[in-house]
Symmetry: C2
Subunit: 225 residues, 2 copies
Amino acid sequence: MPDAADPAPMNTPSRRRFRREGEERRRQDLIEATLDSVAEHGLQGASLRAIALRAGVTAGLIRHYFPGKEELLQEAYAALMGRMTEQAKAALVMEDASPRQRLAAFVTANLNVPIIDTRVFSLWATFIGRASADPTLAHVHREGYLGFRNEVEAVVAEVLAAERRSPDASQLRHHAIAINAIIDGLWIEGCLAGEMFSPGELATIGIRTIEAELGLAPLAQLQEK
Amino acid sequence: MPDAADPAPMNTPSRRRFRREGEERRRQDLIEATLDSVAEHGLQGASLRAIALRAGVTAGLIRHYFPGKEELLQEAYAALMGRMTEQAKAALVMEDASPRQRLAAFVTANLNVPIIDTRVFSLWATFIGRASADPTLAHVHREGYLGFRNEVEAVVAEVLAAERRSPDASQLRHHAIAINAIIDGLWIEGCLAGEMFSPGELATIGIRTIEAELGLAPLAQLQEK
DNA sequence: ACGCTATTTATACACTTGCACAACAAGCTC
DNA sequence: GAGCTTGTTGTGCAAGTGTATAAATAGCGT
């Protein structure tokens, strides 16, 4: 049986065809391929060859864009964190909404797809497990965490102000820490055991718990039409 | 310069000295060495040779106690989870304590050393990052999580019963989910940024938030003498 | 004191890994 | 279209990986 896949068997240097992509495009593709590899097989499975295969290039090219594997992983983590916090904050920009509605929307957004997602959780856990040993990863995390918490603190301040309450800085900080913990904890439960919860259940629990934490009368039913 | 480190250079088969340990002892040592390796350098750094070096044996021995690396890692994770839930539950066995005191003690125990610990967190995150891809790890986690949540639910039921309140199963479940999330979330914050909180602060926040969630009057100050 | 056996070491092997470097060609500039 | 830059490929290498297996010895039963 002749080999139909190679019609010209003689003198085949047959180097692989390729296209030159813009630098930014290539870097993003490589970072995305890195995140996919890490999510599927962990840091162990994220070899340069596996990443390159996924990105549709050969392994050597990676060294042309990144000094080494470590830097690629760090940039990938930074990109992941950036996307996560960006999505979370996007839920806060609502015109013509009361602070309380914005807080509820924020919680709901954080406790549903696409933020509740096993792939993202897998990535988050894998990277953060190395944060205590890798100062660069630790720094990236710290930035994202503080940004998130400050965002929470700002909304909480608005909500309480709308209720004619004026908490001091310490109380505000405690509220933000607690609310952050509630969202994080429910997010983890949802990512790890999503099928144990009915749709929207986690968001409902989150809103109720946060309202209790802030001492707000639970008027959740009134908002439903 | 003569080699002072080898006083008998001729005929030195010089096989390494060793002691035979009991099976259980060796297995535990290997598991501990595995956890240490994973905590320090992640799953990538946990090579059989690194683990064996830490355990004071040679790499080949591992295959005498475990079918392969994967099984060793699974048993290590199971051992870790077992230890964590055991420590957590230990805080619940208190004689002559009101349900509410037991709940507070449970929260306090979970939000202080040794449960708040960067090494344990690093291990937890590393393993759980692989749980969505490895059914065995996922099962180990699920067991531990449900055990923990049921424990929480039981204490909550006692606390509410002592308050002459009789929640239905759904309310109880929601309380348990929320409280579990609060503890998990604060645990993560403490592990990742312990120096941002004063001693006992997380436990205080946790207790206050949980009491608000359960609708209990905050009599925390009264318990302080 | 002497085997016996199971624990332990040591070595070998096939394979993967990250990185270095030379060869090549895609596509812009003139 | 010729020439040049540089993005991209392919190959090579030393180090490290998990696993297999043979050789050695520690420590028990007798």
